[in-house]
Structures are given as structure tokens and as C-alpha cells.
Amino acid sequence: MTFETLDRDVRLFVIQHFVETAQPPTAEETAEALHLTLTESAAAYDRLAADHVFVLEPGTREILMANPLSAVETAFPARIGEKRYYGACIWDALGTVAMLGGSGTIDSRCACCDEALTLEIDNLELRPVEAVVHFAVPAAHWWDDIVYT
């Protein structure tokens, strides 16, 4: 199996696990599910992190983000059906809804005044809402510090 095939399988498994459970699998769980050694699974996590597919907790192989999904609660929860996911930012929350069928609700807040801002999306159509997305970091520098971005 090539690294390309292995990494694709690992990525797919991680996203499917994340979507089903709202949490990413450990490298051990991925190894077991895909019949890999832990070394192979961990190396795939490292390559996918180097390729900016995953973000790992520093010094570990725990997935913090498998874009657009965040393993930790954030100010950007996306409710889709009975499940709740978290985006690392509003872009990821909108991307989560887009990725998972195109309908859902994002219960966010204005970053300035903390007023509730609810984005209701039905079949990729956003109900009218007074809100603006702000990119404090230019796209060319997103990965300089992706957690800050």
C-alpha cells in the first residue's frame, strides 16, 4: 500500500469516526480499524498533519482538528440533526454544515459584543441574518498559527 492510499484511508476513517461520534479516533483506534500497526497509523497522522489535513495537539498524536471539525468545544457549534459538532472558526462551522448535507444551525455570538448570532441553513440556503465574517489573518498566513487563525 502506498503512503498516498494509506493516508487517504486514514483520513476517510478519521472523518467518518468524527462525524459518527463527534470525536476523532486515537491513532490506536485507527490502527485497529484499518488493520495497521500503531507505527503505520501514527506515521499517517504525522504526514496528514504536515499536509495541513489534521492539526495535532502539540507533542502528541491526538487530533485537535480534522478540518472542518474540532475535537474541542468552541464558540462555533453546528447542530445537524441530533448531533452537535464544533468548528474551529465560523468558516469551519459553515463548512461542517456544507459537508454534512447542507442543513443545520450554528449557534454563534458576535465576537465584539457577545450577542447571540444564530445562522439557520436549509439546503445550503442561509436564512437572512445581520452578520459579517471577518478574516483577521490573511489566507496566506492561516497556517502560521492555525489555532489562532
Partner: protein, 41 residues
């Protein structure tokens, strides 16, 4: 990327943090771009 009530709230937030104002887009545009971005993920 953060969400704000209005452009004025972005200005206030940037001023409080002494940050340069960045680019903006409507949530509708961000959703459309996200749909394209994540279509094959």
C-alpha cells in the same frame, strides 16, 4: 475567522485589540465557498 453583528462591531473589536482590519464577507458567501471547498471532502 470570527463572526460579528456588523462592520461597526468589527471596527470596534480591531480597535480594542490594536489589530489591523482584515477582509470581510457575508455569511452567505462564506457558506457558498464552504460548500465548494468541502464538496469533495
Amino acid at each position: 475567522m470570527l463572526l460579528f453583528r456588523s462592520e461597526e462591531h468589527i471596527d470596534r473589536w480591531c480597535e480594542q485589540r490594536k489589530l489591523e482590519r482584515g477582509g470581510t464577507m457575508s455569511p452567505e458567501t462564506a457558506l457558498r465557498l464552504g460548500a465548494i471547498w468541502y464538496a469533495d471532502k
